[in-house]
Symmetry: C3
Subunit: 137 residues, 3 copies
């Protein structure tokens, strides 16, 4: 099946969007019963992971990452482009651009409190493009 | 080949279990000569990575992560559920739920001192469920 | 298609090499039009991620990671082997050994400023071995 795209507006500074339903729908539409689905964030300030998507952790993740890698600190990256998103690039590279999730009988094998999210680590709201690829096993 | 499951009891607060042998056995049983194997941790407080599985690093990884993201700190997550594993969720999301490892002639292409581990970042011992999916190349 | 290997000398302490062109070439040579490519770093002190590969971030990433997980600190790992790369192992495990990137019509679906890199977290320059596996969708 060709790759599918999810486009979603996400707030900056570590905002995240739950894309589990969209991924689930893409898997169902594929008609493939058993396989894995690759979720990839296009662009160097986005990242993909899983998290319990609830109001507390949505606040905790950006706050804790900013304590470790503050947006307000100096980064050599800012000298290259005279922008301000050096911390966002680093966070995105550490969390990583892709995950792969198995599915069985058409259902994602996630935990009950485990959602797939795209995180926007840029310093402004952006439309993030996520590419979803379904492979049979 | 259908997905396979590994169930393993793992200590809390960053305990880890070496699951390399189980993954190796699943690859051999698949009868597939060349391919990749996806290893996925079900649940939002578990993570998968590779590490040199030796007594020193087994202590270092949870200690260092706890210095960066302490279990004893405040997390908004605790207000949602009145539990205490906010730090564990964050660590799991940063390390990530999945990796993909190539194999050739039925053998995993790992380094000699590189083992596949599931990490349990919850605040209690848990049986972690790991899903293993073998794909030919 | 069989797995392909990239061998590249990379400086220690978080040095990185842009391997995007080599991955692109491997995808083209495969003759597969649409699929995903798995990039895996063999060895427990190497990692794979994407980053904007420019002179600023090349300096920022190792510096920031060393502020969080200093090479000069004590690690129990050093007692096992009497070496000095405990921090490097931890950084590699957190960033992770593999990513999966989709491609379409033979072209990697990366952002314009998103490159695939292998990072060498060991304490000396090393030839890193990266395994590249192409799968059709």
């Amino acid at each position: 099946m060709p790759h599918k795209r999810i486009f979603v507006n996400v707030a900056g500074y570590g905002g995240m969007a739950d894309i589990t339903e969209q991924v689930r729908e893409i898997v169902r539409e594929s008609g493939i019963e058993n396989g894995v689905v690759v979720i990839f964030s296009k662009g160097s300030t986005g990242a993909i992971t899983t998290i319990e998507y609830e109001p507390g952790l949505i606040k905790d993740l950006p706050r804790v990452l900013d304590e470790l890698i503050p947006y307000s600190a100096y980064y050599a990256h800012h000298e290259t482009w005279h922008d301000d998103n050096g911390a966002g690039h680093l966070k995105a590279s550490i969390v990583g651009p892709s995950i792969t999730v198995p599915f069985e009988n058409g259902e994602l094998l996630l935990g009950t409190w485990q959602q797939i999210v795209v995180i926007n680590f840029d310093t402004r709201e952006r439309e993030r493009e996520v590419i979803v690829s379904v492979l049979p096993v």
